[in-house]
């Protein structure tokens, strides 16, 4: 994480643009993907996010950040949003928004939690719940480019019904022998579940993950306690902290 100390350079403001909702896909009972048309989208890298701004009829505005779920290769731009109960923006996006609606958006934003096929080493992404979103952009990008460097998704969900992109991930694994997807279900497991149970712990990271000697690029995304635990375990297992990139969803993210 060495700083790139450059001189100030001419900067162009990332302008607000109009995003039009082309379609909405239900991912789980509390998560939807918004398919957006953004007229002058300048492209993005997997892992980046956007800011969105909603304006009420009385002029009240609210801004939030959401990770981009779609890879750079795809159109429309997809955001995946989880309803945070009691939240102000996510319940509107998940429950009220309809195709044809529009809102303001600007981006892409963020240049650190980013992975492209040009990055060396195995890709290891570790998701807690809706933390899968920016990681899915990486996996989709990898799939579009038909990259055959090894990749692993370790994905913690509350129950099978909470697994976002479940079918797509299954299809990805079937089409790609170099991709592994390991699920763990923390609260509820269906009858006959043979996968992992409970939270991601050190033993699961050691058993399922790449060893430090393979120099994986590791991305961890989820709620703050999840990311704190997983990233600490990874460092304790011998992974260099500089290879572990994190994105934490605060409880006020709604």
């Amino acid at each position: 994480m060495t700083a790139i100390e450059t001189l100030a350079r001419p900067a162009q403001r990332i302008a607000w643009q109009l995003a039009q909702v082309r379609g909405i896909a239900a991912e789980t009972y509390r998560v939807k993907s918004l398919m957006l048309r953004v007229a002058n989208w300048r492209g993005h890298l997997p892992g980046q996010h956007v800011d969105i701004r909603l304006t009420a009829a009385d002029g009240y505005q609210a801004q939030r950040s959401y990770s981009i779920a779609s890879p750079p290769e795809d159109e429309p731009l997809a955001l995946t949003v989880e309803r945070v109960d009691g939240g102000e923006v996510s319940p509107y996006l998940v429950d009220d928004l309809r195709a044809g609606d529009h809102f303001e958006l600007r981006g892409p934003i963020g240049g650190y939690f980013v992975w492209t096929v040009a990055t060396r080493g195995p890709l290891w992404v570790i998701a807690g719940g809706s933390g899968i979103t920016p990681l899915m952009a990486m996996l989709r990008h990898r799939a579009r480019r038909k990259l055959r460097a090894p990749a692993l998704l370790l994905y913690s969900s509350r129950s099978l019904d909470d697994v976002i992109y479940r079918e797509e991930l299954g299809a990805m694994v079937r089409a790609d022998p170099d991709l592994r997807v390991v699920h763990t279900l923390t609260r509820e497991q269906p009858e006959g579940w043979v996968g992992h149970r409970g939270r991601i712990d050190k033993a699961l990271l050691a058993e399922a993950g790449f060893p430090p000697g393979q120099n994986p690029c590791i991305y961890v995304c989820g709620a703050t306690p999840f990311v704190e635990d997983v990233s600490r375990f990874l460092v304790e297992l011998g992974h260099d902290p500089l290879t572990v990139k994190t994105e934490r969803f605060g409880p006020s993210g709604g």
Partner: protein, 206 residues
């Protein structure tokens, strides 16, 4: 864009209205304390901690934890504003002000106009000296009267609360004076070089 589009059906769901002069544009008030860091939280023991003031090749001062704790302590109550849109009101911090650090090393005037904060894990952020003097910046070691939790930057973090909170660098161990401004970590990755929340200087070019 010229005209702000109305989001059909969207309305405020806030129960309390916070006075506008407390919350910068685009921010909303939170009562919890979200954590945002680029990597794993370093677990730093105070026995191994030290803090240094650096100018060029020389150290102006270096303190162990015990020595730092013996410096004049200041407590401030302030609002903080994270670029990820949350603001937290009336937070209380204790630590050593930048003014007192200068005094302790015998400097009447700051030697340069800029500093780079260096932190555990390689994180850096640049701040103009003018934004640290006259009580505006400190090295904080207590939050709400208790040691700062590692996830929130403990044992010590820079506190520059009038700028977006990424400037209040966690796990700080060195302040380096610079003749000319250079960009730190987030400033090199598309975030604004200065970061005034009241002007909504979130990203480069804002």
């Amino acid at each position: 864009m010229d005209e702000t589009p109305i989001s059909r059906g969207f309305r405020s769901r806030r129960l309390e209205q916070t006075p506008k002069n407390r919350v910068p544009p685009g921010q909303h008030v939170t009562t919890d304390f979200p954590v945002l860091s680029a990597g794993p939280t370093p677990q730093i023991k105070v026995e191994n901690w030290n803090f240094a003031l650096q100018l060029g090749a020389s150290l102006l001062g270096k303190w162990s934890w015990a020595e730092f704790e013996a410096l004049p302590q200041t407590t401030i109550k302030t609002d903080i504003h994270c670029v990820t849109k949350w603001s937290k009101l009336d937070t209380t911090w204790q630590g050593v002000t930048f003014d007192d650090l200068l005094k302790t090393v015998g400097l009447g005037e700051p030697p340069t106009a800029y500093v780079m904060a260096h932190c555990d894990g390689g994180y850096t952020t640049n701040v103009p000296v003018a934004d640290l003097v006259r009580g505006k910046g400190m090295i904080a070691t207590r939050y709400e009267g208790l040691p700062i939790a590692p996830a929130h930057g403990g044992p010590a973090r820079l506190l520059v609360p009038h700028l977006y909170f990424w400037k209040s660098a966690k796990w700080i161990h060195r302040l380096r004076f610079m003749e000319r401004d250079q960009r730190g970590f987030w400033e090199s990755l598309g975030y604004h070089n200065y970061g005034d929340p009241w002007k909504e200087e979130r990203y480069d070019g804002d």
